[in-house]
Amino acid sequence: MSVGIVSYGAYIPKFRIKVEDIARVWGDDADILSAGLMVYEKSVPDLDEDTATIAVEAARSAVSRHNIDAKRIGAVYTGSESHPYAVKPTSTIVAEAIEATPVLTAADFEFACKAGTAAMQACMGLVGSGMVDLGMAIGADVSQGAPGDALEYTAAAGGVSYIIGNKESEMIAVIEDTFSFTTDTPDFWRREGMPYPEHGGRFTGEPGYFKHVTGAANGLMEKMGTKPSDYDYAVFHQPNGKFPSRVAKMLGFTKEQIKPGLVVPWLGNTYSGSCMMGIAATLDQAKPGDRIFATAFGSGAGGDAFSFRVTDKIDEVRDAAPKVLELLKDPVYMDYAMYAKHKGKIRLA
């Protein structure tokens, strides 16, 4: 049974902080940082936004884009590393808010930045086996970066929701195949009760990101017998602009193929939403028949690769919900003091 994306929806908070405003506080050179990271600004959540509210907004956008009867959704899985509760699912809040309850299964996923794509794979299994009619997979985060840490320049907020189904007549993109590559690699972690993650600095690069992204991407192309030139577009997890650009070149993809999905320079790293946001931005402009290659990365560590073929249905539903570039328009900029307030870095006694 074939499986595919029936709908998708994205949400990005309206606030932004520029890299230069963060660099000014910590005495860093903003030009060197921006050039190195290929990130110029990042999204910041409002004071009353968190992973649950972002997940709900993305889920509602996906439901309304294809006018889905939410009662058909038999599974809601939310991937995040910033779930508002340590114990109490974000996914039940989402399911109730989209009126999919009570006949469904729900759970929260965690695998650093690839929890959302792991949720997509779980939904593929459920709809592919016929256990459920439609499954919803969400990647959403209000990412944490300790004050002064390198992560603070990129840790952003946003979320994306995909509705996965098994009826080809409904699909906007067929998922041709998926492949995962996973090892126990401690490149990034956050211990229970700790407010900010720790990371292995440069160790997150070669043994983490590049090994697992290339492992998953090459594994999928080998499994399918495809090559980079068979695809119109490619998306890779984007913790910054440099890593996906470099890994694309290593794998044989061109700058033009990754351009539509490379949203990190003006958004930052939305962690569990990162690769999924790139796929959404690519679907926003893909044509029927286009093929999209995507690989998510999650620290800890693993890569999930996907091959999509866009169908004629995309033209019917694409404009029915806000596109990623529209969500990035007209941001409200804030200085570091307001950013610190929004991110809970200022505590009242």
């Binding site: 004071l47 009353d48 649950a52 509210t53 709900v56 907004e57 509760y85 109730e96 808010a97």
Partner: protein, 133 residues
């Protein structure tokens, strides 16, 4: 607010679900179990509101209650839904943007929380609907 008290009206807060009296065609939000106009002759049914509305009047909160200090200054408005009911809600934007008669649309936000250990309360707030203003 107790967990049970919030939970009982949770669906109403998440999706603006109120009630409608079929006898006099009046919509209510928050929901009413009895129509105050028709009383024993009323015929109440659940009703999901479309969501959009406009600001009837508003105030700017500068001295916030406990738990809302970080959000001050913020706008608290009486919203009138397209179907008629009026209720109080926060309008999430720069307080300088708020005006009487402006169109607003619902968003899903945190309404509050019971300290660091307690429950987080989610529901509907409003933002300016720039497509209609």
């Amino acid at each position: 607010m107790s967990v049970a008290r919030f939970w009982r009206k949770q669906i109403n807060r998440y999706n603006i679900v109120g009630t409608h009296c079929k006898t006099c065609d009046t919509h209510y939000y928050p929901p009413r179990n009895v129509c105050p106009k028709c009383r024993r002759h009323g015929d109440i049914e659940p009703y999901k509101f479309a969501g959009p509305g406009k600001v009837v009047t508003y105030t700017i909160i500068h001295t916030a209650a406990e738990g809302f200090e970080m959000q001050a200054p913020y706008a608290l408005a009486i919203i009138e839904l397209d179907e008629g009911p009026r209720f109080t809600s926060q309008v999430v934007c720069d307080p300088k943007e708020v005006s009487i008669g402006m169109w607003v649309k619902p968003v899903f936000r945190k309404l509050g929380e019971s300290g660091d250990k307690g429950m987080i309360y989610y529901g509907t707030k409003y933002v300016p609907d720039n497509d209609r203003n």
